[in-house]
């Protein structure tokens, strides 16, 4: 997708998240992953990423792309990785601490959104 389309998708997902509280942590974490991935794609497109397709999950990026991303966008890939890690424990799993994980996911989403906005 194009940058404007990613931005619109991220905005819509973030608007939907306003209907949730931290107690809805499964939904908050998933929404942060989805919106955060759109922000991440904005940044990759902005830097002329050679990837032919949009990124779906940061975890599946090649080692080379991950290394370059860390250099080009310090802290951004780490934020998306952190959100994705919460999915196994709190969305597919039932570890205690989901509310705190949701709060942290929102903070990571802020990192991704800020980075995407600074560049566009």
């Amino acid at each position: 997708m194009k940058i404007d389309e990613h931005r619109a998708k991220a905005r819509n997902i973030e608007r939907s998240l306003l209907r949730c509280t931290l107690d809805d942590y499964e939904t908050v974490i998933e929404g942060c992953m989805l919106a955060g991935t759109h922000h991440f794609n904005i940044l990759l497109h902005d830097r002329g990423s050679p990837l032919e397709q949009d990124v779906m999950h940061a975890e599946f990026l090649s080692v080379a792309v991950r290394r370059k991303s860390r250099v080009m966008m310090p802290g951004v890939l780490e934020a998306l990785d952190e959100i994705e890690r919460f999915r196994t424990s709190y969305v597919r799993g039932d570890l205690p601490g989901g509310t705190q994980a949701a709060q942290r996911a929102l903070e990571c989403l802020d990192v991704l959104r800020s980075a995407a906005h600074q560049r566009i």
Binding site: A8, N12, S16, L17, R19, T27, E30, L34, T88, S89
Partner: protein, 156 residues
Amino acid sequence: MLIGAHLAKFRRLHAVLERFDPLVDKEMWIWNAMNGGVHLLNAALHKIGVTAEVDSFHSQLEGLYVVPDRTGGNLRDALHPPGDVMHVGQPPIAAPLPPRIVRACAALRSIEDLREPYVRGDRQPEPGDDRRWRDRYLECVNELVAEMGVDGGEST
């Protein structure tokens, strides 16, 4: 996960789903419907015994689980037979499934298939899509609830 944990997750996700409009909040509606459906499917598969009721969580990699240490709080990777499925057919289930679960899986897969065009892509829904999506979700839920004979928290 254990059946009770899957049912609790389903009920929580279903409750949030009711706050979303399938057209206005289409990304989160689709995602919540899918996640809730998968938890209910896992509960049903465990209950009929075609997958094992194990205290492990499916990771993002098909067939790779993490096992929680409930006292220490740590997680360790594990490879074991299913277990939870991540999505319909992931990992595949070899055993034959009852007709209700087959129908539920077909309905759930139709929700999962909405991810690419409407969540990751920017296709816009057509008039009536919201009703069709809801119908498929409720078909999935109702079939699974009927198979299990439990109260899924559904209001249909």
